[in-house]
Symmetry: C2
Subunit: 326 residues, 2 copies
């Protein structure tokens, strides 16, 4: 199968490697020309996926239209805020588009396949999401993931393409649930990181994560997702790994917030994108529009965008949560 | 209120301290006479809850019948395998009995309140369960927990007694669900520890835990529990903390199994009880009786009781799980 991966961040690069190892010729496009140069020259992407040897025969292509021309399947792995612009190149594309980007578009409230329905109207759309730290996947550490599409055949096609002994792919037709789980867990992981940064214990963090799953499910169901999806790999599975791993950017961002750093300062120093930051804003908009109560997401938003003190935010959260239940 | 705590392990001692701080005179009974002596002499229980200063006016009582005589409420915090014998002293007790022991009785398949229905037939029964590492609670680190009883009034009474700003108590009438969540999570935590011991990554562990929640829910529902309970504090909340905390005995036991130590050797060196070890046996019996598929629990049982190699067990689990889903 002729494949292209759009975006050479950690996850795009790791998936390009996995697909290439499956025997498919892979074209890789990146916004950063120096990144493609380095891969061509050294077989490494040290900016985004350090320490991993890549196949030497990736076709690196700096022009997105050329990168997707004549392809059967395109994987979209850009940051969420660039997805609409980058996928303009897919306007006439008629193959399968798989998004692995986790986010909700600001102002429109659209998931990534929601954006793709507009930018790639002729494509068959799917999303791939689950507990999958890029560096671990690149190293071949076993994991499992969900391929979701409104169309069972598309989900099955994506499953067959990505499935490996150490990379088990399950199927779902709850595309909205799978995408929202992946997007919203980054916001909850920011809050879990704040817990870490404030030196709160494992008990507090577990209680927060538990309430976080309920919040993700509530907002997801209001958007038309199935409640059970949030109990699966793309919901609680991805949430757990993001909230506990030292490799998680969103948790790490939250930890620094909890230690008293300012959001703007943290962001300036990061090469990678912490998707929870823009997603907190779009999730708050979405929850407000749908009338869903999202106390954790609201406090994360207040810390990120209103400069609210982290300790105060967690304290307000505990006080507010106590009213929410018996 | 006149209160007694039966069992001066880490959790019994931490709860006795919390209740005493709430202004109630507390009597503490322990099987280990030297433990009571130490608390009387030094105000510490260094064997089970090291480094925590206890109130100097606990009444320590070595005779269980005297310990519970004339009490309004008794907290049972013994290891699960001793609960039946210890609570023989409650045969004529007519107050409230709260179990904080997490386990399933071998051969009978009874939860702890199931055993108490037989040993304390005149009592009002409740269980208290959630993500609560004893050492963190003793240090006043914030957490949340669930008070469950078939009777809403009993649950509310227990809630009022234990509730503190940093120890939030929620209520449930799904006693079976709350108790089984607490018991079964210890078995899943053993498996998560094996993952750690084998050096598997965060992705694998998150996938395992996600499948573990589904397994707990399946077995719980077959026993009459409500599915939603396993998504709450006493289910996934407690599971998360037990699978990730360095303070968790069950996770630690699994980690040593994963590194190749024998179960019998690990057990010999432990002062505290890893409840997941006996619970793995009772859970397998229960699942077999009810015809419920429990692949993770089965593999934990095989490692503990049939000397199965940890790496092989995890490999078989991955192979078996792949058949269980699409």
């Amino acid at each position: 199968m002729r494949l292209t991966v759009l975006g050479a961040g950690a996850w795009g690069t790791a998936l390009a490697k996995l697909l290439h190892e499956g025997g498919h010729p892979v074209t890789l496009w990146a916004y950063e020309a120096e990144c493609l140069d380095e891969i061509r020259r050294t077989g490494r992407n040290n900016l985004f996926l350090p320490g991993i040897d890549l196949p030497r025969d990736f076709r690196c292509e700096a022009n997105p239209r050329l990168a997707v021309a004549d392809r059967e399947l395109v994987v979209v792995a850009t940051p969420s805020r660039h997805l609409r612009a980058v996928t303009a190149c897919l306007a006439d594309f008629a193959g399968v588009v798989v998004t692995v980007t986790k986010g909700i578009e600001a102002d429109t409230g659209l998931t990534m396949t929601g954006v793709l329905e507009q930018t790639a109207p002729g494509a068959h759309l799917a999303a791939l999401s689950g507990p999958t730290l890029a560096l671990e996947v690149a190293r071949g550490v076993p994991t499992a993931i969900v391929a979701a599409s409104h169309h069972a055949e598309t989900a099955a096609q994506v499953q067959a393409l990505f499935h490996r002994p150490a990379f088990r792919v399950y199927r779902s037709t709850d595309l909205v649930g799978v995408e929202l789980g992946g997007a919203l867990k980054n916001v909850i992981a920011l809050a879990a990181g704040v817990c870490d940064g404030l030196g709160f214990g494992d008990n507090s963090k577990a209680a927060l994560i538990t309430r976080g799953i309920a919040e993700m499910r509530r907002l997801g169901v209001a958007c038309g997702a199935q409640a059970e999806t949030f109990s699966g790999l793309s919901g609680v599975g991805d949430l757990i790994v993001t909230c506990f791993s030292k490799l998680s950017r969103n948790r790490g961002f939250g930890e620094r917030l909890g230690r008293g750093e300012k959001a703007a300062d943290i962001q300036r120093g990061m090469i990678n994108v912490a998707e929870g930051v823009p997603t907190a804003r779009s999730a708050v908009q979405l929850a407000h529009k749908l009338g869903v109560s999202t106390p954790i997401i609201d406090e994360v938003h207040a810390m990120l965008y209103d400069g609210k003190d982290a300790r105060q935010a967690l304290r307000d959260l505990i006080a507010r949560e106590s009213k929410a239940e018996d």
